[in-house]
């Protein structure tokens, strides 16, 4: 029961019913955005937001900063590894 797909909200269809159109790679569907609307986020303000869509509902906003952080950690991993390898190699070759 976990299929969720990222998509972008491109327009509001019905403010009272919390309905919006989400775009997933060029195909569009109606979604209910009640879960991402609160006193800090009005219905109209959701246009442009990236959300996770699950069975016709936008369940959560996707936090771009956190997404970048997650990916950065992964990229750094490899970099740190390369540095360690370089040091080890230098040691064995007597450079350090």
């Amino acid at each position: 029961m976990c299929l969720g797909i990222p998509g972008q909200i491109v327009e509001i269809i019905d403010v009272t019913k919390n309905l919006a159109t989400v775009d997933v790679s060029g195909v569009k569907r109606q979604v209910n955005i009640a879960c991402i609307v609160d006193e800090n986020h009005s219905v109209e303000s959701c246009v442009g937001d990236w959300v996770l869509v699950h069975v016709g509902f936008a369940m959560s906003r996707i936090n771009e900063e956190e997404a970048q952080k997650t990916l950065a950690l992964l990229t750094e991993l490899g970099e740190a590894q390369k540095e360690v390898e370089a040091i080890l190699l230098a040691r064995t070759e007597g450079a350090l």
Binding site: M1, C2, L3, G4, I5, P6, Q8, K17, V24, S25, N32, A34, C35, I36, V37, D38, W50, L52, H54, V55, G56, F57, M59, S60, I62, N63, E64, E66, A67, K69, T70, L71, L73, L74, T75, L77, G78, Q81
Partner: protein
């Protein structure tokens, strides 16, 4: 596709795998308890199981890591008796029975919903509970029942649909509620004497709704590392890395790998809707796992008119699994799908005996369709030779 392709990047995967290999070697060296068994990590959620098989993740990992597939698949744990209840409701002439696709093929004691449809019942496959509401609006002379399935992930959607039905004053719409909760079943697994787990990948979309707090107990009480995990292949591999890092450093924490979606406090509007429409059942039956306390929800009295169980009679008979069925052991991770004596012979996707072979998130279906290359090759080659 944004937020998808980046998390399927094979180059980043290779980096992570190299790290994982190092950590694994370190853990094995420093921990006597892995002298004669692999590091055992469980992914609880069926969605994770599906990703693992779809992308062949298990073969990328060192052999000394074993992934144990948990029971977090709501379709897989549907008892046969409950399917019979669905069929009985669907066969009522006034009823339009709306359901998610996966649930349609689960065998009941006599038939599945798909077979009931072929026999004339009005069963409709929908993508969203809101589609079922649309059917109710379109057919005021019929009773629309939506088969509400899923863990906490899907509860906000069905609850909000009931609230919308209330707002519109619809009286021909109800839910047949089979929502189940995650924590009691994780506890049941951790309490099981047969289970040796070294870490857990927690269901990311359940956490999206309920937040991080409900999963702290795994680290605090049961002393097992737990990582809230996303659903792309890189998310899963990164979570495995995080678990191994904890094991290597002797830590025992709850970490959130899926921070781009999961917040500490979860989804407030979703939780509010759940609180209005649902309350815990004392007991709920799980296929293969028996009756578990506080593991299911039912509709509150305030919303009784949207409760199909109160609106219509259901047989409500507890049906035992066929004796040759080993669904329970597979669900608990005690045996692997191909170790079930009917796997691939009497039980196949074409002739399923249990829901694990029917649901695309079921471990058996995943093994059968995507293969765990070495084991399945052997099975298929036997079939090819036999032909």
């Amino acid at each position: 596709m944004k937020y998808v392709d980046e998390f399927r990047d094979p180059v980043l995967a290779q980096k992570l795998i190299a790290e994982i290999e190092q950590l694994t070697a370190q853990i094995l060296k420093e921990n006597k308890r892995f002298a004669d068994r692999p590091i055992q990590l469980m992914e609880f959620c069926g969605g994770h199981t599906h990703t693992i098989f779809r992308y062949g993740i298990e073969q990328l990992l060192p052999k000394s890591i074993e992934l144990i597939h948990g029971p977090g698949c709501p379709v897989c744990v549907l008892p046969m008796g409950r399917v019979d209840d669905c069929v009985s409701l669907a066969e009522r002439p006034e009823v339009i029975f709306a359901t998610f696709g996966d649930a349609m093929r689960v065998p009941g004691s006599k038939k599945s919903l798909l077979q009931a449809k072929a026999d004339g019942a009005d069963v409709r496959m929908v993508y969203s509970p809101l589609d079922a509401l649309t059917l109710a609006r379109k057919h005021p002379d019929r009773e629309v029942i939506f088969f509400a399935l899923g863990f906490e992930t899907t509860m906000p959607s069905t609850a909000l649909t009931v609230l919308e039905a209330e707002r519109e004053g619809l009286d021909n719409f109800s839910l047949f509620c089979n929502h189940i909760t995650t924590v009691p079943i994780i506890k049941a697994i951790l309490d099981s004497p047969n289970m040796q787990l070294d870490g857990l990948l927690a269901p990311g979309h359940v956490s999206m709704v309920v937040g991080e707090a409900p999963f702290h107990f795994v680290a605090d009480t049961y002393k097992k590392p737990i990582v809230i995990t996303g659903f792309e292949p890189l998310d899963i591999v990164q979570s495995i890395w995080l678990l191994l890092r904890q094991l290597a450093q002797g830590q025992c924490l709850m970490e959130n790998q899926y921070a781009r979606i999961v917040t500490r406090d979860g989804n407030q509007p979703g939780l509010a809707a759940i609180a209005r429409v649902y309350q815990l059942r004392d007991f709920f039956e799980w296929r293969g796992l028996g009756s578990i306390e506080d593991s299911g929800v039912r509709i509150t009295d305030a919303y009784a008119r949207f409760d199909a169980e109160r609106k219509f009679p259901v047989p409500n008979v507890k049906i035992a699994d066929p004796s040759s069925c080993q669904c329970g052991e597979v669900l608990k991770g005690e045996i692997k799908p191909w170790q079930c004596k009917v796997f691939g012979s009497q039980c196949t996707p074409e002739t399923p005996m249990g829901a694990l072979m029917v649901s695309s998130e079921g471990a058996c279906a995943a093994y059968y369709n995507f293969g765990n290359l070495p084991e399945l090759m052997a099975l298929k080659e036997k079939a090819v030779v036999a032909k």
